[in-house]
């Protein structure tokens, strides 16, 4: 695996991508070991009215919320909610979006045209608005958020895979594969898919960040996760009536969202540079 080692070397040298990678690694550790890392793991749901709205101190590093729960502990457990939502939503979008994009890109018939028109229709409503509408139709819950995000995000994958597949079709090696007599399925899976995979990986990383932001927005608006779930957007919504006194209550969950989304975006940006040498080194 010389290619892999070379890529890893390039990766560790890319400060931006590597920082993103470290952030996500820490996030995974936090989610995995939340019960051990959290100073008050029982505070996810247990309330202590006597300790309400304590500013950050040695006992409560990030302060407490309106129910006296430790904010740091709840943030740590929140990483689990966030990751579950984002991983499933992006995973489902991949499973729907990539095959559709491959089929629509590879075959040039009415069915392909149909797929792309449907994708366009989904993209014709801003994602947050469509997701709000969907989540409300399903009745707000974490499951609804996951469904809503999956249903609204797949067209992005379809569109990218479609465009790349169409570009590949003009290349000689695909024509050669077909001339040798390889079937469509074989050509798509063995020859097209590997060539579009770097775009898919990059899009997935950026999609994770995007999905986390949207999930938090849905939580904040009240159509997503419901209290007392320690979801970050929900926590920020709860904190609003205690401002300006309890500044820590709103500040830290927002910082958590920012750092995590930034991590995925940086990783995506960096991966694009590494996986696709054709693209000029730049920030887009």
């Amino acid at each position: 695996m010389k290619g892999f080692r070379l890529a890893w070397k390039k990766f560790t040298r890319d400060r931006l991508a590597f920082t993103g990678f470290v952030i996500i690694f820490v996030l995974l550790l936090a989610a995995l070991f939340a019960p051990v890392l959290a100073p008050y793991p029982e505070d996810t749901f247990q309330i202590h009215p006597a300790d309400r709205l304590q500013p950050p101190s040695a006992e409560h590093l990030l302060g407490t919320d309106s129910m006296g729960r430790d904010i740091l502990s709840r943030l740590l457990f929140g990483t689990r909610v966030t990751l579950v939502i984002a991983v499933i939503a992006v995973g489902v979008s991949l499973l729907i979006g990539v095959p559709l994009g491959l089929v629509a890109g590879y075959f040039e018939n009415l069915f392909s045209e149909g797929i792309m028109r449907v994708a366009d229709i989904f993209l014709s409503i801003p994602q947050v608005i469509l997701a709000i509408f969907l989540a409300q139709s399903f009745r707000p819950s974490i499951r609804s958020v996951i469904l809503a995000l999956s249903i609204t995000y797949w067209p992005w994958f379809t569109r990218i895979v479609y465009a790349e597949t169409r570009a590949l079709k003009k290349r000689a090696f695909l024509e050669a594969t077909e001339a040798v007599g390889a079937g469509s399925l074989r050509t798509i899976v063995l020859h097209v898919l590997p060539n579009v995979s770097s775009s898919i990986i990059v899009r997935s990383s950026i999609g994770m960040g995007f999905t986390i932001l949207t999930a938090a927005t849905l939580g904040f608006l009240g159509v997503g996760a419901q209290p007392p779930t320690p979801e970050w957007g929900v926590t920020i919504a709860e904190s609003r009536q205690f401002l300006p006194d309890a500044w820590w209550y709103a500040t830290f969950p927002g910082l958590a969202i920012f750092i995590v989304v930034m991590g995925f975006n940086m990783l995506g940006d960096g991966l694009r540079d590494i996986l696709d040498p054709r693209i000029r080194r730049g920030f887009d």
Binding site: V128, L221, L243, A250
Partner: protein
């Protein structure tokens, strides 16, 4: 305007029709097929079983779906989007009333992000890998990672609550009468009626919401302008003109800016979608009485018809703006119309 451009414009308009139709069908499917009982959703959480039944009859939710779809399209064609539980008025009238507030906020944010984003993007491209370029890269990457509702709350906390120099929310001061309504946009109306007091109050109320809303789109537009300019800089004709001894300044003004404008206009459609989605959040945070706040109230009260109406309006607005952008692009760059 020559003939091929006209044909192109007509084609684009015709292409938009199935998209809008598809959008109507999509919204219909989501609202009728996903919920276990659409009548109960429309009636709201406080409704009695009798009220739910009455609604089921009124909207004919018990008919087969294709029949319902036709009825629904017929009603929409008449501008009937049902009644809002929240305001007790027709959803259509509510949307019309609240539209100017959102339009004003969106336009100001768009102008702000273009006025700041385009020059910075050009500068970053021309001074590639300079300190400014790296700094901007950081800011724009952050701009796309920050949750806008949180940014808004932080700005409120700092500027309104701690420093007390900006209002916390709303469109205009409590003690100030809104300007006489011409367009419904306070700043424009105040200018037209030469109402200084209202102008000042409306402008001050606009600062934080528009800056918050503009932040993400500013980041996007800076990135795209930068890469758009970089694409041009590396093309042969620029190298040629430089080699021919044309002053760099002339090359920048004459060739780069034109292409930068194309990159910017291309982005306006996408930007509009970002801003539109952003208004739901920003209006909620800043208590801005537009469509976004209306959508939020509708969510809180499970006012289903109202949510449906906002979704439809947002979709139609987005498709229309993108259509106009495409046509505008073909005017600036006629090559677009040929492909």
């Amino acid at each position: 305007m020559n003939r091929s451009l006209l044909i192109y414009a007509c084609k684009r308009v015709v292409y938009a029709v199935p998209t809008i139709l598809g959008l109507l069908v999509l919204v219909f499917v989501i609202s009728r097929v996903i919920p276990a009982d659409p009548a109960a959703l429309v009636a709201g959480e406080m409704a009695t079983p009798q009220q739910v039944e009455a609604l089921r009859k009124q909207y004919r939710f018990d008919e087969p779906l294709p029949v319902q779809l036709v009825l629904y399209l017929k009603r929409l064609a008449k501008g009937d989007m049902g009644k809002s539980l929240y305001s007790g008025r027709k959803v259509f009238d509510d949307l019309v009333d609240r539209f100017p507030a959102t339009l004003e906020l969106t336009l100001v944010s768009m102008v702000l992000s273009i006025l700041i984003g385009v020059p910075l993007g050009i500068l970053a491209a021309l001074k590639r890998n300079s300190v400014l370029d790296h700094l901007l890269r950081g800011v724009t990457v952050a701009g796309l990672a920050i949750a806008s509702f949180w940014l808004g709350i932080m700005l409120q906390l700092f500027f309104s609550m701690w420093l007390g120099i900006t209002p916390l929310g709303g469109r205009i001061g409590m003690s100030v009468d809104p300007p006489a309504s011409i367009t419904g946009m306070y700043i424009l109306d105040a200018l037209l009626t030469l109402n200084g007091r209202a102008l000042w109050s409306a402008a001050v109320h606009m600062i934080l919401p528009s800056l918050t809303l503009a932040f993400a789109s500013f980041a996007t537009i800076t990135r795209f302008t930068r890469s758009g300019v970089l694409d041009v800089v590396q093309q042969d004709f620029i190298t040629y003109e430089r080699a021919m001894g044309l002053p760099p300044r002339l090359v920048i003004y004459k060739y780069l800016l034109r292409n930068a404008i194309i990159a910017t206009v291309t982005q306006i459609g996408l930007l509009f979608g970002l801003l539109l989605a952003g208004t739901v959040v920003i209006e909620t945070v800043f208590d801005w009485p537009g469509l976004g706040l209306y959508a939020f109230n509708a969510i809180v009260l499970s006012d289903y018809q109202a949510i449906l109406g906002v979704t439809l309006l947002a979709g139609i607005a987005y498709v229309t703006v993108n259509l106009l952008v495409d046509i505008a692009l073909s005017l600036i760059d006629p090559r677009k119309a040929e492909t």
